[in-house]
């Protein structure tokens, strides 16, 4: 409508301008012919052509403006048509989706009705069945499940020690069969093999025990009978599995020169109670066993006579009949309630005492702590042991023989998962990988009077870096580790150990078939460094 109005005005304007153009020149010519003296400026008619021309230009400009307006309107109309077409398509798609939803809803309603019918039939069947099902279930719940499960771990790596100039691949494989006989008895065992200098060791049991709940599972009393990890401290029981220990090596006090026996045959009574709110626990472990065993012990006798500095044995089955006896206790206290959101703190004290050679005493005391909150964890222990040595006289005497053996060992470690560090700009690919790294540091040491030359090994095996500097009366070690936790129980570990032994102590050596060791003073043991990498998988 507006466009038609504009066109009419435009047409009229054009016609007027054409008429005026034709009339003005004839009038001007007539005026000039009648009065040749008259000047064009003096005649008002002479000014009209200029005004008409100006008007004509204005009309022309108006015409062009109208055309531009018209073109712009046409373009807008075309764009509107496109938008309308797109909206119509969307409406069509929504209509289709709505139809499909209605069909799906109808199908679901039909399925629900069918399911309700089936459930009703099943309920009727169960409700009317007077067979032995309920009775059988009750019998089963009393007798237990009779189930079998296998867990374990495997680790493979490569160790290098500079002082021993030894490169060595390592392998450790351990399976833990568990047979739950019923709700109150379970059999647990550990079979393992390790790559050693002579090849892979025989697959043998290192643990085999019955876990018994004599008062049922609702009472805080469990019995463990058989071959078990020594509960002195936390290390052997809780930290020694290859995928649990965040370091590749063991701390010195539990490693190659362990100051406590790793395993024992006997009977434990243990349990835990909640003394406060959730998370505030206290637990106890009491045990009696076959007593500590040393290299010179009867049944083992890997060295010919007792000597200060000889190593403790794990219980292997060859040294059960030792006439020894041992008893111990461990108590742990957890003071922080879960609701405080401050992590879990453990304070621990334990003792182990026994006779290692008929009437000779072995005593050990251990205190420790463990704490974990968020990405941070730390734990440490300090232990002291005493061993009563036999009275020697005559040819059996050796230099320094006649005192008693005292040993101290300690370690403290700390670890931090890198996810605790703010890292907003790493990107989607790098961030989850960065979060899986844990950086760890550990300091450990052992003090003792002597070392036995016959014990010294320079071949790296699983959990031991192969450094001869570890075999020092005053060994010290700083370990740095970087773990990449691929999964909660799969870890790729890298570790550097600096061995920094202090001077002092005695080196005993049984040469040939002699039953009396030679003695030499250890002045300074050189420092050493070992580098290791290992993949450990818990399954």
């Amino acid at each position: 409508m507006v466009r038609t109005h504009h066109l009419s005005i435009l047409t009229i304007g054009v016609l007027v301008s054409v008429a005026l153009t034709l009339v003005q020149p004839s009038r001007a010519r007539a005026a000039t012919a009648a009065d040749p003296a008259a000047t064009p400026a003096a005649d008002p008619a002479e000014a009209k052509p200029g005004a008409y021309t100006r008007l004509l230009r204005e009309l022309e400009a108006e015409r062009r403006h109208m055309r531009e307006e018209e073109r712009r309107h046409e373009e807008e109309e075309a764009a509107e048509r496109k938008r309308i077409d797109a909206l119509e398509k969307e409406v069509g798609a929504i209509n289709n989706a709505n139809t499909q939803l209605q069909q799906a809803q109808t199908t679901l309603q039909n399925t629900n009705a069918e399911t309700a019918k089936q459930v009703s039939q099943i309920q009727k069947t169960v409700g009317s069945e007077l067979g032995p099902f309920g009775f059988g279930d009750r019998i089963n719940s009393f007798l237990g499940q009779h189930t079998f499960t296998m867990v374990g771990g495997v680790s493979a790596g490569f160790y290098y020690d500079r002082k021993a100039e030894m490169n060595q691949p390592v392998l450790d494989f351990e399976v833990n069969p568990m047979i739950r006989l019923n709700d109150w008895i379970q059999f647990y065992s550990s079979f393992g093999a390790t790559l050693q200098p002579g090849g892979i060791s025989d697959m043998g049991p290192s643990l085999a025990n019955l876990q018994i709940f004599p008062l049922g599972q609702e009472e805080p009393l469990e019995l463990v009978a058989g071959l078990f990890d020594t509960p002195l401290g936390d290390w052997f029981e809780n930290q020694s599995p290859n995928w649990v220990n965040p370091f590749i090596t063991a701390p010195l006090m539990y490693g190659a020169e362990s100051i406590a026996p790793p395993s024992a045959m006997g009977l434990q009574a243990r349990g835990g109670i909640q003394w406060g709110t959730l998370g505030q626990d206290v637990d106890y472990t009491l045990w009696i066993d076959s007593g500590p065993s040393f290299e010179s012990s009867p049944g083992v006798a890997s060295i010919p006579a007792p000597v200060i500095g000889e190593a403790l044995n794990p219980l292997t089955g060859t040294n059960i009949a030792t006439n020894g006896k041992g008893f111990g206790a461990r108590f742990r206290f957890f003071p922080i309630p879960i609701s405080k959101d401050l992590g879990r703190l453990e304070l621990m004290a334990s003792t182990y005492n026994g006779k290692w050679l008929d009437g000779l005493w072995y005593n050990a005391w251990d205190v420790g702590y463990a704490y974990r909150v968020g990405p941070f964890r730390t734990r440490g222990e300090w232990a002291q042991t005493y061993r009563q040595m036999p009275s020697l006289s005559g040819a059996a005497m050796y230099p320094g023989c006649c005192g008693h053996e005292n040993r101290q060992g300690w370690y403290a470690m700390a670890g931090y998962f890198l996810y605790g560090i703010p890292h907003p700009y790493l990107g989607d690919w790098l961030e989850p990988r960065f979060n899986k790294f844990e950086f760890l540091v550990r300091y450990s040491g052992v003090n003792q009077r002597a070392i036995l030359a016959n014990d010294i090994s320079t071949v790296p095996v699983f959990s031991f870096n192969g450094s001869p500097s570890v075999y020092s009366p005053h060994a010290r070690e700083v370990a740095l580790a970087l773990d990449y936790w691929i999964a909660p129980s799969i870890v790729w570990q890298s570790e550097v150990d600096w061995e920094l032994p202090r001077r002092g102590g005695t080196l005993y050596n049984f040469v040939g078939t002699s039953s009396v060791p030679t003695a030499s003073a250890i002045n300074a043991t050189t420092n050493d460094v070992a580098v290791m990498t290992q993949l450990a998988i818990g399954f």
Partner: protein, 96 residues
């Protein structure tokens, strides 16, 4: 003699009926509430207690019957209080 047999038979029928009725009844609202409470406690304890010694394992790693065995072992090794063991086990078996 017949009287004795009748009494024993009657007692047996009553006991059997009670057992079947108890089984058919299903969990009570109180039992369901107890399960829910255990689940929430286990959810809070699982990362704290397990991480104390090693990284907490995913509940989906083992079947419920395996968790029965593993937690029986871990309770022994870690001296877990019985109620805490119940809560962690409930969580691990349910959150798979």
């Amino acid at each position: 003699m017949k009287s004795l047999i009748a009494k024993v038979g009657l007692i047996s029928v009553v006991l059997l009926g009670a057992a079947v009725a108890a089984h058919a009844a299903g969990p009570t609202p109180e039992q369901q509430q107890r399960h829910l409470q255990l689940f929430h406690e286990g959810q809070a304890l699982w990362p704290i207690y397990c991480n104390h010694c090693h990284n907490a394992r995913n509940p989906a790693e083992f079947a419920p019957y395996q968790w029965d065995q593993i937690i029986m072992h871990m309770r022994t090794m870690e001296n877990l209080p019985p109620e805490d063991e119940d809560a962690i086990l409930e969580y691990l078996k349910t959150a798979r």
